[in-house]
Structure formats: structure tokens, C-alpha cells
């Protein structure tokens, strides 16, 4: 398969770099030069992946403008090439990339806004899960309650930022009517991203409640999560938090051990 393999490798090089000329001898030059034709494919390739990023990160795009976003997307694609025919996972490293992207260094909140948008994207596509049947807890020995570990619904993500990322996200929505000014010195956000009935929501959480869920989602026991939350806030309402997150189907199963 030497011919086809060599051709595809040369084509790939030409898409990655405008300097690559290995493909030139393979292309008919009838009227329009071969490398101008290859440029069409470079554009298709860049646009296809940029559009995938734009769909997942509309707020980041609005914050930095379309032109800068395209520039960043282009660099991102070079650093983290697509490795699948399915584009759902493409862009998973964009927040990390933005954090190390010198032209964006004066906008330190950008990676966190990107993280929020990626959480939203993942929750959009995540699978479902039946709610917990709390009656089945009756089979658990009360002495073992502290050792319970909970399963988190697949369409839930937790995220915290020192910046008011939810507010930043909100004011950059197409239907937002009020002013766009955001005070970055306002307190940061702790967010539960969830999907209910096909609708995605951001729930702001109090610090102790966030720590409670975060500890549970790390696979720790209920006792450990309760202690962590109480250490953060001695008045933490464990009863209310546990009931709330079973009711909103964030905690969907349990196991002992």
C-alpha cells in the first residue's frame, strides 16, 4: 500500500503546515495551482474544528471576539490535534490550553469560563440514570450509615472558580438584556451543573455544600463527606443537603464498603 499511504501522509503534512510541499507532485495543476487547491482543504480542516470549538465555547468566543477565538482555535488544533471522527470530545483540553496561551494571559478567568462551558457540553451529551430508591436504604444497618458511598448521576459536574464565572456566563447570553459589566472582585462561584428534563442548569452552591458533594463524588463515604462539610461550616445542614441532592437526582445510588 505504499502509494496510498505515502499520499495520505504527504496530504496530512500539507494540512498541518503551509510549508509542506511533498504533496505538490501528486496534484494536477490545471489552471489553478495545486497548492491553492490544497489551501481549500486546509480551510475546511481548520473551519471544521474551529466550528466544533465555537459550538462548545460560545461565551469564551464572545469574551475574546471571533477573530481572536479563531486564532486561538487554530493554535489549539495544532497542539491538541483531533484524534476521532466524532467531534464530541474535541476541545476537552481547551481550558488548560487557554491557561497557558500567552496572548490570553491578561484574562485569567478565561480557563474557568471554558471549564464551565465544557461541563455544560459534557452534561448535554451524558447518559441518564434512574433516581435512587430511598426505600432500599431500609436494608442498611443504621450503624453503617457513615460508610455509605453514593453514585453521582452521569449528567452532573462540579466546578469552582475564584471568579464569578456563572455571572460572566449569564451576561454573555444572546437574550441577556441588562448591562454586561461584571465585577471580577466579586466572590467566586461553586457550581453544580446538571440536566433535568433536557434542560441544563447551573446551581450555585454554598461552600460547605460544595465540599460535601465534591467529597462524595471523589468516592468518599458519607461520614467523611459530612465531616469535610462541617469542617468548612459548623452549621452545615447535612439533612437538607442530602435530601436536596437525592431529590434533584444528583445522588442516584449507594453502596456499602
Amino acid at each position: 500500500m505504499t502509494g496510498l499511504r505515502e499520499l495520505q501522509q504527504a496530504f496530512g503534512e500539507s494540512l498541518r503546515s503551509e510549508q509542506a510541499m511533498q504533496l505538490a507532485p501528486w496534484i494536477c495543476a490545471d489552471g489553478i495551482p495545486g497548492m491553492r487547491r490544497v489551501q481549500i482543504y486546509r480551510n475546511n480542516h481548520a473551519t471544521s474544528l474551529t466550528e466544533a470549538l465555537r459550538a462548545a465555547y460560545p461565551v469564551v468566543e464572545k469574551l475574546v471576539s471571533e477573530g481572536f477565538f479563531r486564532f486561538a482555535a487554530h493554535r489549539y488544533t495544532r497542539k491538541f490535534p483531533s484524534t476521532e471522527g466524532n467531534l464530541h470530545g474535541f476541545g476537552r483540553d481547551f481550558a488548560r490550553f487557554l491557561g497557558q496561551f500567552p496572548p490570553a494571559k491578561d484574562h485569567r478567568y478565561l480557563p474557568d469560563v471554558a471549564r464551565l462551558e465544557w461541563a455544560r457540553h459534557e452534561v448535554y451529551h451524558a447518559g441518564g440514570h434512574a433516581p435512587m430508591a430511598p426505600q432500599s436504604l431500609a436494608a442498611v444497618d443504621p450503624a453503617a450509615y457513615e460508610s455509605l458511598r453514593f453514585t453521582i448521576h452521569p449528567a452532573r459536574r462540579l466546578l469552582r472558580s475564584p471568579y464569578p464565572v456563572v455571572r460572566i456566563w449569564e451576561v454573555n447570553q444572546p437574550d441577556w438584556k441588562a448591562g454586561q459589566t461584571v465585577d471580577l472582585s466579586a466572590s467566586g462561584d461553586r457550581v453544580l451543573v446538571l440536566r433535568t428534563q433536557g434542560q441544563i442548569e447551573f446551581h450555585r452552591l454554598a461552600p460547605a455544600e460544595y465540599r460535601f458533594l465534591d467529597t462524595l463524588s471523589a468516592g468518599c463515604t458519607l461520614g467523611r463527606a459530612a465531616e469535610a462539610a462541617l469542617a468548612r461550616e459548623p452549621d452545615f445542614d447535612l439533612n437538607r443537603s442530602l435530601v436536596k441532592h437525592v431529590q434533584n437526582h444528583t445522588l442516584v445510588g449507594f453502596a456499602l464498603a
Binding site: 496534484i27 471522527g85 433536557g198
Partner: protein, 289 residues
């Protein structure tokens, strides 16, 4: 997507006009239940485990014939077929039981890097042999017949020795798959590469054509000439409608899809385009009757 057995069943897709199903139109489709012959989705858009896209597709699939159109299989690549990709596609096929499954006669990855674009194959005996083998592998893994679609191209290779129509026809004949004939892509390539579109139609065996695609394209002007780009962002042009009528009289009425991907208009615009195709199909049905 929840695992329920035998919820959907493969039906024979009608020789009617259908439209692509895009997320922007989910709610309009559910609310209006438009009269279309079928919906076609890009298979990869449902590769997620569940969530919003599957919620809608399950509802829509219950009421309409469905076609799965793959854009990311990288059929013609020399890289091994992605097991993860074919396995996920198989799960989706088993669950939704689409009436048609298609892939593009192109490649999009090499050395593990995906360009997520439909790149042209050289039309050589080597490439033909390779693609025939790949189609067989896919059909084996899916346990279903697939259709392969001819793509638009913006360059030709110096070492191609087989006319495109012959290549497409041979892939289907030798591998036992069907052909999804994109009439707009034939027009685009005939213009870009200076051949007669009628010769193309005459070179394709009627019994192999199982579906037809129609779409709009864009003319890109360069200082030394123009190239047609398959942009799927506008109405089907008059020349392509005329070529389509020729195709329907040669191949008979076939399920026909209006494709629109970029600058997506209101659902009604797609439905009006589908009605135009439907009129051509009905005229052909009348002639057959």
C-alpha cells in the same frame, strides 16, 4: 439512550424526499410533525451516551423512517478502522435500527490524527482494492448493508487512472454495498474537473443506487479561475435540479435528501426544497405507473 430491546425496527425507506435533522430544528420538528419521507442524521452527532440529542431522536425515530449518515469513519484511510468508532456505530444501529446507513467515499485521518474533513482518494486500483476491503469490514462489523457516497473534490491526483464514476461503481459492485449518489457533488466535480455530468450518470449502474443527495454549493473565485465548494449553505441550484431529474429518470425514484449544514434556515425552507424533490419523484412514479 436507554437500552430497551426491539423498540424500533428496520423498515424499507420510501422513495420520497427527506431532510437532514439538525439540533436547531428539534423543537420545530416535534411541534409541527412535518410531512417528510424520512429524516437523516449524522451518526457521529449521536455518539454521546445519552442526553438531549437522544431524547429527541428517540421521539422522532418512533414516527419517521431514519437514515444514518456517517461523516467520520475515514473509510479510505490507510490507518486501521477505529474499533471504538465502529463499535459505537453498531450500538446505535442496533438500537435505532436505521433504514439506511451510509458513509463517504473519502478519507479523513492518517497516523491517528483526524482532519474531520472529507479528503479525496486517488482513483487507482490500489485505492479501489483498499476501499472494497474496508467496506466489507464495516458491513461485517455492522451486519448491515451500507451505502457509499461520492464526494465533492477540489483537486485531482496525477496518478489517478480510473474515472470517478467507474471507481464508485466498482466499489459497490465488488464489496456488495449500495451507492448514495450525491447529484450536487457530481455537478461540483464535473465543473471543477471538466467532465460531462451525463457521462457520470451513465457510468453508474441503476440497481446500485439506493439514495440521492441534493445540496447547495458556493462558487469561490480565484485570480486564475473559480472552484465550486460543496458548502451545504443554500438552495439547490437550477442546474443541479435539472441533473437530478436526469438521475431520477435513469435510476428511478429513490429516497432523496435535502442537505443543509451551514447557515441553517428555518425548517420551512428545507421542507419547501423537499417538496420540490418530492414533485420530481412523484412525476417519475406516475411515469412508472
Amino acid at each position: 439512550m436507554t437500552a430497551r430491546c426491539e423498540q424500533f425496527a428496520v423498515r424499507s425507506i420510501p422513495a420520497r424526499a427527506g431532510i437532514g435533522l439538525r439540533s436547531e430544528h428539534y423543537q420545530a420538528v416535534i411541534a409541527n410533525r412535518p410531512q417528510v419521507g424520512f429524516f437523516e442524521v449524522h451518526s457521529e452527532n449521536y455518539f454521546g451516551s445519552g442526553g438531549v440529542p437522544h431524547r429527541y431522536l428517540e421521539t422522532i425515530r418512533a414516527d419517521y423512517p431514519l437514515s444514518f449518515h456517517g461523516v467520520g469513519m475515514s473509510l479510505g484511510s490507510v490507518d486501521p478502522l477505529s474499533t471504538a468508532h465502529t463499535r459505537r456505530l453498531k450500538q446505535l444501529v442496533d438500537y435505532y435500527q436505521p433504514d439506511l446507513i451510509s458513509e463517504h467515499l473519502s478519507w479523513s485521518s492518517v497516523g491517528g490524527t483526524f482532519f474531520n474533513d472529507l479528503l479525496p482518494l486517488p482513483y487507482t486500483p490500489e485505492a479501489l482494492h483498499h476501499v472494497v476491503d474496508r467496506v466489507r469490514q464495516i458491513q461485517d462489523r455492522l451486519q448491515r448493508e451500507i451505502l457509499v457516497e461520492n464526494v465533492s473534490s477540489y483537486l485531482q491526483y496525477t496518478h489517478s487512472t480510473i474515472p470517478e464514476w467507474e471507481f464508485v461503481n466498482e466499489v459497490a459492485l465488488q464489496s456488495g454495498c449500495g451507492i448514495l449518489l450525491d447529484v450536487n457533488n457530481i455537478f461540483v466535480n464535473a465543473t471543477n474537473h471538466n467532465f460531462d455530468a451525463q457521462t457520470y450518470l451513465a457510468g453508474v449502474s441503476p440497481q446500485l443506487v439506493k439514495e440521492i443527495h441534493l445540496a447547495g454549493h458556493t462558487v469561490n473565485e480565484f485570480e486564475d479561475g473559480s472552484i465550486l465548494i460543496d458548502t451545504h449553505d443554500q438552495l439547490v441550484c437550477d442546474e443541479v435540479w435539472s441533473l437530478y431529474r436526469g438521475a431520477v429518470s435513469r435510476f428511478g425514484p429513490k429516497p432523496t435528501l435535502i442537505e443543509w449544514d451551514t447557515d441553517l434556515p428555518e425548517l420551512t425552507v428545507l421542507l419547501e426544497e423537499a417538496n420540490k424533490a418530492q414533485a420530481v419523484l412523484e412525476a417519475a412514479h406516475d411515469r412508472v405507473a
